[in-house]
Symmetry: D3
Subunit: 70 residues, 6 copies
């Protein structure tokens, strides 16, 4: 399956914690990767983002999906 | 600033594309990292996820934020 | 209430599972519907999406809201 | 690929609109389907949601992904 | 319409910027309000969050919807 | 830390509810604020949004992060 989500990183599950309806899964990413972010043009301008700049990417856990190759 | 978002990865901006109101920023992640995902308990059970298993993490670009240390 | 969210589908609740702070609700959609997706231009181009093409829409459960007409 | 996202619906692309960095894709869903939503327990209780009840599911376009079977 | 989304704040549109497919809308919130956040239990514990504590709530623009009373 | 997320509001934690893996945090916003929303151009046009108009902003709890100044 090919998907529109631009970010797909390979890794190994390190920990699973199960609640009654929610669960958290921790995955150790084993390969460096390229992350694509879509933000407002205004954020780029107001932060003064530039190619070559050191940044952090920040992602809320509820936005991360887990996939298996079959 | 400490933030509840569990995922923060260091990298370098490789490309910025600006539209009128939206923009995409591509960041090369330079260090291996641990990604936390919050999904339904049902997804964990139905995919049969287990510690030690090889998986992919998949993230939509609209969910990725860029941060700068000041 | 009119809302900017482009996707609204009528259905019937089939199952509710309650945890302490989270809950899952399963809704059977009873009418065919038109779904709008906002993705990166790059995803459209790289997947080669075209009008008339058969696709799947994929949505994480944490992004789905439930509404009641009053 | 199997994915943790609980919602996957088959359809046909009806319209694609491309901006410089963002794009919208409209998909006509051709089969009835079961949608899973993860919300707060409090929302279930305060709306008085019950199995058998008629509801709407509401989804923001930025949360909808497009996938292709290969 | 009653909705599962826990956060609804009244305000006045201050600025609209339109691109070809995306748009940004800035709303000045005119009343103080109570914001509900669902995060991982781990984030609460690791940040040491406590009732009475001063915090910031942070929200990505792509997650904010606009609604009209009719 | 400066972040691309356009929305940051100061407040005080009123209530924390902890489940096994998820938690909800309620924050009373103590200052009026300006909220930025990124939606489809189509939503702006079809709702007829205009500067000066009274609206509501609606946000799902799973999209709200909590941050601490350090």
């Amino acid at each position: 399956m090919a998907i529109s989500a631009r970010n797909s990183m390979e890794g190994v599950i390190k920990e699973i914690k199960k609640g009654e309806v929610a669960a958290t899964v921790k995955v150790e990413i084993t390969k460096p990767s390229l992350i694509t972010s879509m933000i407002t043009r205004e954020a780029v301008d107001s932060l003064g983002l530039k190619e070559g700049q050191k940044v952090k990417v920040v992602i809320k856990s509820t936005e991360v999906m887990i996939a298996l190759d079959e």
